[in-house]
Amino acid sequence: MINKIKSSHDEALSGISDGASIMIGGFGDAGIPFELIDTLLAMGPTGLTLISNNASAGERGIAALIAAGRVRKVICSHPRPPRSDIFAQAFRAGQVELECVPQGTLAERMRAAGAGLGPFYTPTGYGTWVAKDKQTCVIDGKGYVLEQPLAADFALVRAHQGDRLGNLTYRLAARNFNPVMCMAARRAIAQVDQIVQAGDIPPEQVMTQAIFVQSVVLAGTPA
């Protein structure tokens, strides 16, 4: 029998070691797996590369990992949302490296990795700082930049419902980067609001398919 449901957050995150690359879902505070990040902080791996839309806001989540000195590099589209002082201080002190990627390119690089594609051409960033040191071309008068697929060792996502097979749904705008991160990571770990029976989610309403998910853990489960 397939059973991806884990009884604790520690078990769900087991195997994350120093130097891992980790995608963390969410946009604003919607869809961020805060409980998984709290457990990751307590577990203590360091030298992490984090891939997320923001490089933290406030003091929880990625900010807490940065403040604890666990993060070597952040790959994100917007490192300076409101209340992002913890990242800014660490970056200016040379403690954290930054790769800033246009938001649509960030998502599409993950999709390419998850879909088994190689590098792809996008018009986003052509003629700008983003195109520096990258291959470019002009097709039918439109300029493009060659971008590379972006995979990761792990993805930590927050979903609404999950079943033992690993099927997921999301509420409203909490979906954002979470599905594509499950595709792009070698192990996707989902913190869910509800665990449901296999078959409870109507098949055509599954938003992330079981094949992309390795672990499911209920939010509120002890670490």
Binding site: G28, R80, P123, G127
Partner: protein, 230 residues
Amino acid sequence: MTEPLSLNRQQIAQLVARDIPDGATVNLGIGMPTLVSDYLPTDREILLHSENGILGMGAAAIGDAIDPDLINASRVPVMLIPGASITEHTVSFAMMRGGHLDYSILGGFQVAANGDLANWMTDAPDAIPAIGGAMDLAVGARNVLIMMEHTNKAGEPKLLEACTYPLTAAGVVNTVYTNWAIVDIKDRRFVLRSMVAGMDIDTLQRRTGAKLWIDGGVQTIFLDAAGGLS
């Protein structure tokens, strides 16, 4: 001369809103563009897109209507209109980059006569690069409208022959709405469409960093007694 009328942010938003046609799909960028939603004519059905996956975004949510899973690109709780949809990031950005979005309305630091836009980073030495969705929004939409002050705080032009700040996108801007004028970009030239009452072309030209061309007539922007556009 007496200093001409200078539109405030709400009045610039009104100028933009009246140019959005019925049936359009529109993304409103962070900052001044969000004000446009307050002035969209109620007799036009306009679908607002938000980069985090919403098509059919409604007004800001207050009180019991606030749901932490339903926010806009500025992280503000919002509501949905009947018929709205929500998707994930790759599809949301395909809506922009794929040319499906009719209008992208963005703030600007600088716009050049060839349509170049700079709106994501200044040349301050300690600036941390932060692109967000700006580059995708600027390259993808069929029409890119920019809202900004005509000059910066030092009184220097923001409409220029060439941008000095790092570019957001090259050759993409269609129209610039400022506190003094509406300027279209046609054939790599600034073409003056409208200017506020009391402004004259020579004064506006002195406050603009590249030649203003006139194709046909220039309309005048008047305000009514209540401060609305008339």
